[in-house]
């Protein structure tokens, strides 16, 4: 198992945002996480990536290591990358610098080298830059490399966030609503790029997404959260027919026709 949680718990005051979630993810899978607003999807990400500290009794394991109480940068170093719902781009940095700072953990020289400014650093920096330019052209942002990230359009920003997360060559990539706010054409484009990246880098993916079509089309397995609890897990086709899921999402039972309509959005 690449990622494993056991009795994962987090309470904010009296509210149990995540309640005893057991989660297992083998390598090379694409997993979708769905659930209504406030069901604890983002909290789950924040717990795994170390932004929040889980409540006692929880256990998180990544790539065979216990990361339950590790700070976020340690988790990142181990090869778990993520994106954020609010993007959290480095607005005032150039596009290339955004991506290059995602490469931080792999930089081959240390701090002393950096301060003394030895020549080998410039060579290594050049190599890193070339590699990152390649990544940028892969996502189609190479022409904008020297622009400030704040000057990009919404769709380009989402691509940049993706590139930055992949720059560190993670083993597991967790995407928090990667397609939110995109037009259908852009969504397709994004998903295409995502699939190509997965192939190229051998990524394992977890995707939170409200656009159910994305989840149904790309994920091999879907986990459904509601009120902080895991209510269902299985292949997309199974989930589609799960009454608990439908109730959680739509608040009522639907016939097949209505269902298909809702999911097609």
């Amino acid at each position: 198992m690449l990622l494993k949680t056991n009795k994962l718990m987090k309470a904010f005051g009296g509210l149990k945002a995540i309640n005893k979630v057991d989660f297992e993810l083998p390598a090379n899978e694409i997993r979708g996480i769905i659930g209504p607003n406030g069901s604890g999807k983002s909290t789950f990400f924040n717990l795994v990536s170390g932004v929040y500290e889980p409540d006692p009794g929880s256990y998180i394991e990544f790539d065979g290591k216990d990361i339950t109480n590790e700070p976020p940068h340690k988790v990142g170093e181990l090869g778990l990358a993520r994106t954020f719902q609010l993007l959290r781009l480095y607005q005032d940095m150039s596009v290339i610098n955004n991506v290059m700072s995602g490469y931080h953990t792999l930089v081959p020289y240390n701090f002393i080298d950096a301060v003394t400014g030895r020549k080998k650093i410039w060579d290594q920096e050049k190599v890193i830059k070339e590699e990152m330019m390649e990544l940028l052209s892969f996502v189609g942002l190479a022409d904008y490399a020297e622009l400030n990230a704040s000057e990009l359009s919404g769709g380009q920003r989402r691509l940049l966030v993706l590139a930055r997360a992949i720059a560190g060559k993670p083993k597991l990539l967790m995407l928090d609503e990667p397609a939110a706010g995109l037009s259908p054409v852009n969504v397709d484009n994004l998903m295409k790029i995502l699939m190509r990246l997965k192939e190229k880098y051998g990524l394992t993916l977890i995707i939170i997404e409200h656009i159910l079509k994305v989840v149904m089309d790309t994920c091999s397995k879907v986990t459904v959260l509601d009120h902080g609890e895991k209510i269902a897990e299985g292949a997309p086709s199974q989930i589609k027919d799960d009454n608990a899921v439908i109730e959680a999402y739509l608040g009522k039972k639907m016939d097949d026709e209505e269902m298909r309509k809702a999911l097609a959005v």
Binding site: G117, E125, E146
Partner: protein
């Protein structure tokens, strides 16, 4: 031009050697009197402080208003070592850098929990506390100031006049700039910027936010400490707590803001221009503070990234245009 740039990139030392030679020649070619040398030395000192301040404020985004206190620590380390041990600049400079670095650690700790104006208040308190401590300490000669701090002697030649001291201050400045460029152009500099832009996102990329905040504070404190020591030995070698007040801090900040926050040349451009303009407006002393206040306000309103950002925008726009232009063909 591009080829020249490429060579400089390949051999970063080369650029500094060229700059060193040019700066060595400037006094004999352009300077007509000793005061210009004095001013040049002051510019060098201000560049060191501003370049350091740019690391922590411009790149790492940590607001500090206490830097002048660390500058004072550097000056008084040098002053006291001279006073009690008779040390020369060669000993006081590394000692000042080291001790200032330790103070940098102390200044970094509040930044782990505080942000923006709250951090500014905490560091302001720190800086003022240092000044008041010096002002009330008999060990530091309190408000008498430490006078006649010696100038260095190389091969029997004392560097005790403004024209000679320039040759001490200038190389120290170049070394400082070299270090600042090296750091800021490396992955560490990028990490600083990432911490400035979004600490949560930076941590997700595996950047240790606390460590980099600490690094930025310590590095820039070392710059300020070194500058303080060079200032202490500047002829006639007199330091007094009056020279380390909030007004001086604002002047340093103005240099960085005017030159361009977060621009690699920012502090340097700002230090040169502000020091020269300040000197040219010296006879207009009645309006000086007014002019400076206005400059800061207008810079922030109309040129938020300072002169550095202005130049940057111009060059980058051009580069982008040529690229997309080529594509459309």
């Amino acid at each position: 031009m591009d080829k020249f740039k490429e060579i400089i990139r390949q051999y970063p030392f080369l650029g500094f050697i060229i700059a060193f030679i040019i700066l060595m020649l400037i006094p004999s070619v352009f300077f007509t009197d000793l005061y210009q040398s004095h001013l040049a030395s002051l510019i060098c000192i201000n560049i060191i402080v501003a370049a350091g301040l740019n690391i922590v404020k411009g790149f790492c985004g940590q607001v500090t208003v206490g830097h002048v206190g660390i500058y004072a620590v550097g000056s008084y380390t040098a002053g006291c070592m001279f006073l009690y041990l008779g040390s020369s600049l060669w000993l006081t400079l590394p000692a000042a850098i080291l001790i200032a670095g330790l103070f940098g650690v102390a200044f970094a700790i509040p930044s782990f929990r505080l942000e923006g104006p709250y951090l500014a208040l905490a560091t302001l308190g720190g800086g003022e506390a240092i000044r008041l401590f010096i002002e009330n300490g008999d060990f530091f000669m309190s408000t008498y100031g430490i006078s006649n701090i010696s100038q260095p002697v190389i091969f029997g030649v004392p560097f005790d006049t403004p024209d000679k001291y320039y040759y001490i201050a200038m190389p120290v400045m170049l070394i400082a700039i070299y270090f600042s460029f090296s750091v800021l152009r490396s992955s560490v500099g990028r990490a600083f910027m990432a911490v400035r832009e979004d600490p949560i996102s930076a941590a997700a990329s595996g950047i240790n936010v606390k460590k980099h905040k600490m690094l930025a504070f310590v590095l820039s404190a070392m710059f300020a400490g070194g500058a303080g020591a060079v200032y202490a030995h500047l002829p006639p070698g007199y330091i007094h707590p009056n020279n380390y007040t909030v007004i001086e801090m604002v002047t340093f900040l103005a240099m960085v803001v005017f030159g361009g926050l977060g621009h690699i040349w920012g502090g340097i451009i700002g230090a040169i221009i502000i020091t020269i303009v300040y000197d040219l407006t010296r006879p207009l002393y009645e309006y000086q503070l007014f002019i400076f206040g206005l400059t800061i306000v207008f810079t922030i309103l109309f040129m938020p990234k300072g002169i550095g950002g202005f130049i940057d925008k111009y060059f980058i726009d051009r580069r982008f245009k040529t690229k997309t232009g080529a594509m459309s063909k």
